[in-house]
Symmetry: C2
Subunit: 579 residues, 2 copies
């Protein structure tokens, strides 16, 4: 190993997973002479956080697959000095030293440049009995080890006719949903508890029912708008074993705020994280209003010798301008790279804002989001128009086309602000394209003109993204006035609701008082519309919004005051199911 020269800079990095390890690796690539020390309080560095649920499920069979690097491999390939079990308890900024606690005691370590990559800590919800050994979280390799042991214990030696073990998952966010999927894959009966009124709270509510249906189809018992209040042993007199005999911890009862009592052999709690900024705070570094570490475009903190990256830093949302931590692997990795560039004197890119692009697989469905959702836009007071679209992921005439259910918000000037999608295929592609479009500041006009790869197995000549652009153009320039499903009561009370679906679709379910004229008959039956409307506005709808768009244009062309239901009956049903 090359000994560092006298003048070599000494870079100390606190935290050895995504952001910290990206900083360390990039720093080495930029400076072969630097002394680079990575201090990790846990036993593992550079592990695949995002893969943990898939190891629990068994889809990732080999535990070693999660351990992307070890201190030994990092020493060999990048000449890094990686020290696990090293917890930094304090930063002495004056002396440029950190205080490190190990199993052997405490020592001080000097630095020229310090990178803080402490990550986040799980939020501990106010649930009594949370220390019961049946209660787990899913953030680290030891977490997944414990969960796998527990599940294995619950499943081993069971008679084939024994009832399946039960699990309660508290929190239906990204990791919670992945945990549910994993436990179902292992054969457990799963109850999912979520405080919000829909699963995957960052998703707009009109898409969430698709996920709820998919969960129900896989036997998951969903409890929305309730909190877990207590975890109590079923047999309070029984001994509480330690976690090494996980299968013997005994069943617990999880009591919900609505009085429901769920019996479970296993509980996973994942209700979010908060930035692990205590070390930075105690060192007097500036924190933002949300408690995350303030950094500049170089990831530099208020101390010019200290950089910070990852879940613990304050970032700016690209759309709303709001600041706060965003616990996502992609930004963390890029921040680490940027910090290393800065430390090594490289140009860095301007301060990167964050879109919050995220995705989750829920059985056969995919749900993904980028940019600002409706709730965020409302909170930020940003004017926006919401478009709903249900379009095939590839040409409809090619076998296997699946619907992409898309919701997107546009500013009045046409700028795309956010998009979300759920579907069985092609969701990740559309969200990635739209994430790129938001980053580029693209408008509805730009989306309409995007030239995406089209052959029947992959897309359509007018791709979902182009269609979204067309719809937004039409809404924003007044070609297609629209109404929203959440205004259905008002539409029913004050306008004529015109349902242009077929008679059989109408018979299978319709709005009370709606006039049914299938869209192909509309031109011949305008007099009926005129009579029924009696001068009122006409609220048109079909199943997805396409036929009703044609009908709306006919009516507008004939002088009626008409508007089209965004997303049609599909979106209306979803909205009503959450009300």
């Amino acid at each position: 190993m090359t000994a560092p020269s006298e003048s070599a800079r000494k870079i100390v990095i606190v935290g050895g997973v995504a952001g910290g390890m990206s900083a360390a690796a990039r720093a080495r690539r930029l400076d072969e002479q630097a002394e680079i020390i990575v201090l990790e309080q846990g036993d593992y560095v550079s592990f695949a956080n995002c893969g943990l649920p898939y190891h629990l499920s068994g889809e990732i069979t080999r535990r070693e697959a999660l351990l992307l690097h070890t201190p030994a491999t990092l020493a060999a390939s990048l000449n890094l000095d990686v020290r696990t079990g090293n917890r930094v308890t304090a930063i002495d900024r004056g002396a440029q030293e950190v205080v490190v606690q190990t199993a052997d005691g405490t020592h001080r370590l000097g630095y020229d440049a310090l990178v803080l990559a402490p990550g986040a800590v799980p939020v501990r919800p106010p649930i009594t009995g949370l220390d019961h050994p049946a209660v787990h979280t899913l953030r680290t390799v030891p977490d997944v080890d414990a969960l796998r042991d527990t599940v294995a214990g619950l499943l081993s030696g069971r008679p084939t006719d024994a009832p399946a073990p039960h699990a309660v998952v508290v929190g239906a966010g990204f990791i919670g949903l992945e945990a549910v999927e994993a436990l179902v894959a292992r054969g457990l009966v799963v109850h999912l508890v979520e405080l919000a009124d829909h699963v995957l709270p960052p998703l707009d509510p009109e898409l969430a029912p698709l996920l709820a249906d998919e969960l129900a189809a896989h036997g998951v018992d969903l409890h929305l708008s309730v909190s877990a209040q207590a975890v109590t042993p079923v047999d309070p007199s029984g001994p509480v074993a330690d976690q090494s005999e996980a299968s013997d911890v005994g069943a617990v009862t999880v009591t919900l705020s609505d009085g429901t009592a769920l019996t479970a052999d296993l509980v996973i709690v994942n209700v979010g994280v908060r930035p692990a900024s205590a070390l930075a705070r105690e060192a007097g570094l500036d924190l933002g209003p949300t408690g995350a570490i303030t950094v500049d475009g170089d990831q530099r903190t208020s101390d010019w010798r200290i950089w910070a990256v990852g879940d613990a830093v304050e970032v700016t949302h690209a759309v709303t301008g709001a600041t706060g931590p965003v616990p996502l692997a992609g930004p963390a990795n890029r921040q680490g790279r940027r910090a290393a560039d800065s430390i090594c004197g490289r140009r860095t890119t301007p301060q990167a804002s964050v879109l919050g692009t995220a995705i989750v697989r829920v059985f056969d469905l995919t749900a993904a989001t980028t940019g600002a959702n409706q709730a965020t836009l409302q909170r930020a007071g940003i004017a926006h128009e919401v478009m709903h679209l249900h379009a095939g992921h590839h040409a409809g005439y090619f076998p296997g086309a699946e619907s992409v259910h898309l919701v997107a918000s546009f500013a009045p000037d046409g700028t795309l602000l956010g998009a979300q999608a759920v579907g069985r295929a092609g969701v990740d592609k559309r969200i990635d394209v739209l994430a790129t479009a938001i980053r580029a500041g693209m408008t509805a006009d730009d989306l309409a003109e995007l030239e995406l790869a089209y052959a029947p197995p992959y897309g359509s000549a007018k791709d979902v993204v182009n269609m979204l652009g067309f719809v937004a153009q039409n809404v924003l320039d007044g070609t297609m006035p629209q109404w929203q499903a959440w205004d259905v009561d008002k539409a029913m009370a004050t306008t004529l609701v015109l349902d242009v679906r077929s008679r059989s679709e109408y018979d299978a379910g319709h709005l009370e008082g709606a006039l049914n004229i299938p869209h192909l008959e509309l031109r011949e039956r305008l007099d009926e519309v005129r009579t029924a409307a009696g001068g009122r506005e006409i609220s048109v709808h079909c199943a997805s919004g396409v036929r009703s768009y044609l009908a709306t244009r006919i009516l507008l062309g004939e002088g009626f005051d008409a508007r089209n239901l965004s997303g049609g009956w599909l979106t209306l049903e979803a909205v009503r199911s959450t009300q």
Copy 2:
């Protein structure tokens, strides 16, 4: 049907497939009162051109699936007057009339606005015997009907042990490759003949060998850098039946320019198309240098009452600024929409340039391209640096990761100019993101910062697109000087080639005279490198470019003059296979 009012504008559209039908439909949606007449010389309108090969293969089972609309359905839903078998033979611009030929004779039809959507005609290559009934093309519904009849005839009543029928496909472009796939799916032995030195000529040559290997793995016999010269009956004395008894047309011999004689029961010729601009030319409309119809941003021709859309119009390439026709369905559809907007007095977007994004499935592989390829950039004299990347389509620790083989060109200032990819999964997504990025004028820095949806089944925390940005940043800012596979002879002659792969990889094949030091041993063996280099530059390579990047950085950090092989051994092998 609503009768057009006195003042209704009369819109006549020549050509009823992609662009023409988009114009007609949009015009109706914008103007309920207009009289809209679509004149189509063939028997079908609005059919799915791009689906034809998949009906030949049987993947699209129902012929009706290809017929998206009929004159009757278009009358019912959009009040369009669609007339098939109506060929426009002349435009009388002074009288504002077109001359229409039908089975019943010739008549004149007036217009207020005329839209030309004549499409393209197949290029007829200089092959003698091209009129033999065994020779087909694949552009229209009658074409695919004839091909299906022919294939069915060849396959019916054959003894199970009879040799498979043989087909020759001339032209290995997008449709040619789809035809090959279809014929193989039907059980034919297929010979593929291509004049260029690689399959899919628009693809950069270093990606084409992946397609050639895939074709070979499916039994396709590939003939590159040769032309077909003649089609002759095997039994010249035999009767040449008419096409209605396709299976009885008899075998033919296809003679190639290298003397090869291929016997075939069926020949498909698809060597490209040219704009069907004769009608426009004869009417005195301006044509561009390539013979396509000149239009402005509203799709308006040099006659302000005439618009033109689709394969027959001149478009501007977004990257090179070159003009010419681009026969793609997506742009055609959007041009039709734009023409209707203009006719109906709507704002239109500025002139749309074209990226030429295209994609093709070749058995289990996907190949896609967007923006300018290397040949186009060279012809246009545009300075560019080429990056090669082989990266997993999702996290490597998640089962099923497939390599995306990516080639991209960047301007010296970092602007992305073009990208191409081949792989078994995730290719369409990356090309769509990169098409969006090119359209937005994004740079390597922008790609590095793109926030794409990451969960293990979908991507990586550092997605292929981010990695491309990182690589391009490193090359363009001098962090990673690179050398190209096509300069291998020079590298071997004038530099030290350092192969940092493992010994077993080296033993399985290496460059003559290369020094092998596995990258993990490099720091300890720098003296060997110094001795072997003797002051020469060092040309480093590994398998894909990752380990050699680390090695290059070590060498640069130690004062050597080193550069990394773009795309590594994988790209080198591909380039050498085409030389």
